[in-house]
């Protein structure tokens, strides 16, 4: 059980290092994909049905992901953590509505939900930055946001197909026992 949390924490750490050093060299107009956000969304989307919107597991993942995002952010700790917790709550509420309709994890819901997730996270992040570090507010409601969305979506879709193909996150405890 604890192995699952350790592996996911290490993966968040790996993605944090990757997006701040390796992926910089593949930026498009200065924009790089945010693997931490993508991975966290995949964890939420493919997590087992049911459970409260503010479940312990998802909150733990939000805190870990937010911590690694805050380390590289020129602001106080907690900015990304709180943004992710709020975003997680809203996304889980939306997913519960879909589960109640009995729908499987389809691409039709994944794409718009991921787009909304990015917008909400960015909005809350900049709202909190406005109060904590106003000079670093960076909400670009222009063509650069479209690039951010498309670039992140490309990797998110790749992650979606990998998770669907290998049934990842459905029973992570059992999968990790194989190692």
């Amino acid at each position: 059980m604890w192995l699952k949390y350790l592996v996911i924490t290490l993966l968040f750490y790996f993605f944090a290092i990757l997006q701040n050093s390796f992926l910089i060299h593949f930026n498009v107009f200065g924009i790089t994909p945010n693997f931490i956000l993508i991975f966290y969304f995949l964890l939420l989307y493919f997590s087992p049905y049911g459970g409260p919107a503010l479940g312990w597991e998802n909150s733990f993942y939000a805190i870990i992901a937010g911590f690694f995002l805050d380390v590289f952010l020129h602001s106080y700790f907690g900015v990304s953590i709180i943004s992710l917790l709020i975003t997680m709550f809203l996304v889980k509420k939306a997913l519960q509505l879909l589960w109640n309709r009995g729908d499987e994890h389809t691409l039709l819901y994944f794409i718009p939900l991921f787009a909304v997730y990015l917008v909400i996270y960015d909005a809350f992040l900049n709202i909190i930055l406005f109060f904590s570090s106003p000079s670093f507010v960076n909400f670009n409601a222009n063509w650069t946001f479209i690039i951010t969305l498309v670039y992140n979506m490309a990797f998110a879709l790749l992650g979606f197909y990998i998770c669907k193909k290998f049934n990842l996150f459905k029973d992570l405890d059992r999968q990790l026992k194989l190692f």
């Binding site: 701040n20 390796f22 910089i24 200065g30 805190i63 020129h74 670093f136």
Partner: protein
């Protein structure tokens, strides 16, 4: 019946109360946790950078080599053209250097001024680039307060290209705000091909996403494509004549008193592994 209804109502009210208490408890713990993190923010970030630095630098190098490989495949045709134009530019510069050296030799008094010009020699500290936060245009370097770095110090490359200034200093690491950061305002001089004309001054502002633009240039100023921008040292933060960028596109609107010009910055985070911090420039 009333007894049953009131029983279920109080059970649901107790359940809601429990949920409220749980959520409140979580928020209190979260508040304490975030408070502790911020109390030791400098130490946490410093140790994180210190531990991650070898991995980050490896990834940075691998990323640079990989993107260079793909870029050379994609731009093979353009590389040849660029090579030819650089050869021509190099030759023109050699001619100018020769002429300047001759003028210098003939005028001994100027030589003495140039020799004593404090701008010539700066104390530099070499730092390795560890990572970049592309959302804020901030790079992290592996030198900190232990190495004599303090906030506000200019950061340049080996070719005297201006990258930015030190924003925050930790014990072993520092954060450098690039000139493309939205908060950056930099006074520059525009060097155009007509040497006899008086220099033009303007303001370079950061446009985030590693972009910059030139602002507050009078509409009647004659700015041409490929004109070079250098620091003017008027604001006192950066020494003069550090390379900033090249004019990419000019756009004049007669209804406005100033021109806004697109600039191609000289700094390139993809190709840099080491930077220099000027530690003794203070106007």
């Amino acid at each position: 019946m009333n007894f049953l209804t009131s029983g279920s109502t109080s059970a649901s009210w107790r359940k809601k109360n429990n949920v409220f208490v749980k959520v409140l408890t979580v928020f209190i713990y979260l508040f304490i946790f975030v408070g502790i993190l911020n109390l030791f923010q400098n130490q946490i970030k410093n140790y994180f950078y210190l531990l991650s630095s070898p991995i980050e630098k490896t990834f940075w190098r691998v990323g640079s080599n990989t993107s260079g490989f793909f870029a050379s495949l994609i731009n093979a045709k353009n590389t040849e053209k660029e090579n030819e134009s650089l050869k021509v530019e190099n030759q023109n510069l050699l001619v100018r250097i020769t002429a300047l050296q001759e003028a210098e030799r003939q005028n001994g008094a100027i030589n003495e001024v140039i020799a004593n010009d404090p701008q010539r020699e700066f104390k530099l500290v070499l730092a390795g680039v560890a990572g970049l936060s592309s959302s804020q245009d901030i790079i992290s370097i592996d030198k900190g307060s232990d190495d004599g770095i303090s906030e506000g110090m200019p950061v340049i490359s080996q070719q005297k290209v201006l990258f930015g200034k030190v924003l925050k200093v930790y014990k072993n690491f520092s954060e450098v705000e690039l000139i493309s950061n939205k908060n950056n305002i930099l006074n520059v001089k525009i060097k155009n091909s007509d040497q006899s004309a008086p220099p033009t001054y303007g303001i370079v502002r950061g446009n985030s996403n590693l972009g910059i633009y030139l602002d507050l240039v009078l509409i009647e100023s004659n700015i041409n494509k490929d004109d070079i921008l250098v620091t003017s040292a008027l604001e006192g933060t950066f020494p003069r004549d550090l390379l900033v960028g090249r004019v990419k596109e000019t756009e004049k609107n007669d209804l406005k008193p100033f021109q806004t010009i697109k600039i191609e910055p000289f700094f390139n985070v993809k190709e840099v592994e080491n930077l220099f911090i000027i530690t003794d420039y203070r106007k």
